[in-house]
Symmetry: C2
Subunit: 196 residues, 2 copies
Amino acid sequence: MRLRYRSIKPFCEKTCSVNCGLCPRLGRVSTTNNAGAGAAAAGPGRRVASAGPVSHAIFRVARIHKLLAGQLLREVGLYPGQELLMMRLWDEGPQRQADLAAVLDADAPTVTRSVRRLERAGFVRRSPSPTDGRVTIIEATPASMGLRQAVERIWADLERMTVADMSESRQGDVLQALGELERNLATSEESRRGDR
Amino acid sequence: MRLRYRSIKPFCEKTCSVNCGLCPRLGRVSTTNNAGAGAAAAGPGRRVASAGPVSHAIFRVARIHKLLAGQLLREVGLYPGQELLMMRLWDEGPQRQADLAAVLDADAPTVTRSVRRLERAGFVRRSPSPTDGRVTIIEATPASMGLRQAVERIWADLERMTVADMSESRQGDVLQALGELERNLATSEESRRGDR
DNA sequence: TGAAGGTACTTGTTCGAGCAACTAATCGAG
DNA sequence: CTCGATTAGTTGCTCGAACAAGTACCTTCA
């Protein structure tokens, strides 16, 4: 890299070993496919990023999905994940916090905190179980019912964005693929749980 | 619910309106498919959770995938997401922090913090650009090279868990499905970005 | 009956992620 | 040359998520 005189704008003659900010920016393309596409185009072997195409794809889908969910839910004052908990309470009624955690497959500290925050927001109520001193019953408050329709609409919107103009049978294909991935991953997760 | 006398164990005669902890626990099954399966079995309409089967499936796949990634990466002292940043530096060499953020499609505060943490761990080095007073160059340290092989192995393991015994062509199907989802979501995300 | 094992929830801690707001440096039009 | 617009990075803040550890309550078994 050789800088030109100060009287004209400095530029980098060719790609230097440091991305000085002046080199032609081959890596500056900001499409979401870039990491994957770059990896695919980069030739074999040398690129760590070429490992795990399915994992990369999962990561990218999950990221944008959650980003969109976050933006939609923000309009009604919820964070991603909170709506799943509320949905469960709306659909199934009051239940033990531990059951909630089990069904959501979330860890207990996370549920404790999430419930507390929703309680503070007035959307859930906590009460001790009448029969077991360890147990807390969680229920959706009347105030949260106003949220229910909004959350329904938001999830419908999110689903529409997700499947876009896929045919019904294509959606079925996609669901099947995701189901297989989930089964594979769940199997691994369960055997690792045994190892611990 | 009617409790029995104290001299014998109290039980709940039938499912009461509060999950008191004694009722037959129909919702207590803790398989990861429960939310989806329950929703499918629950009949139409009344369940918020029946909305968005693809979104639910994405959420579940992403959750376990990230959980597994987290456990594997933890063995080498990294958090999920950090390895993607390191991969990028290993593969592409030193670069501007803003380029890193663009390529990872991460927001700048997240990258700032992640880089700082990796710097503290000795895995990256930050230096000012020689030509632009705003720019910080990020590079992988020699110390991080010891990590590279471990991360490669971890991602290979993760991918193996993810695809399990799927045939090559089935993997291609899955990648195609994920690619479509990503395109749909990215399209929505980009048009929302224009709205803001 | 009492001890051991198990369950429910909480607290501590770290992280990535998103959005808002801010400061400093650079760019480009007038 | 000036100044408004844009870019780069940082700080503030909230959240879910994971793992570790702790306390209190319940169940089982000798």
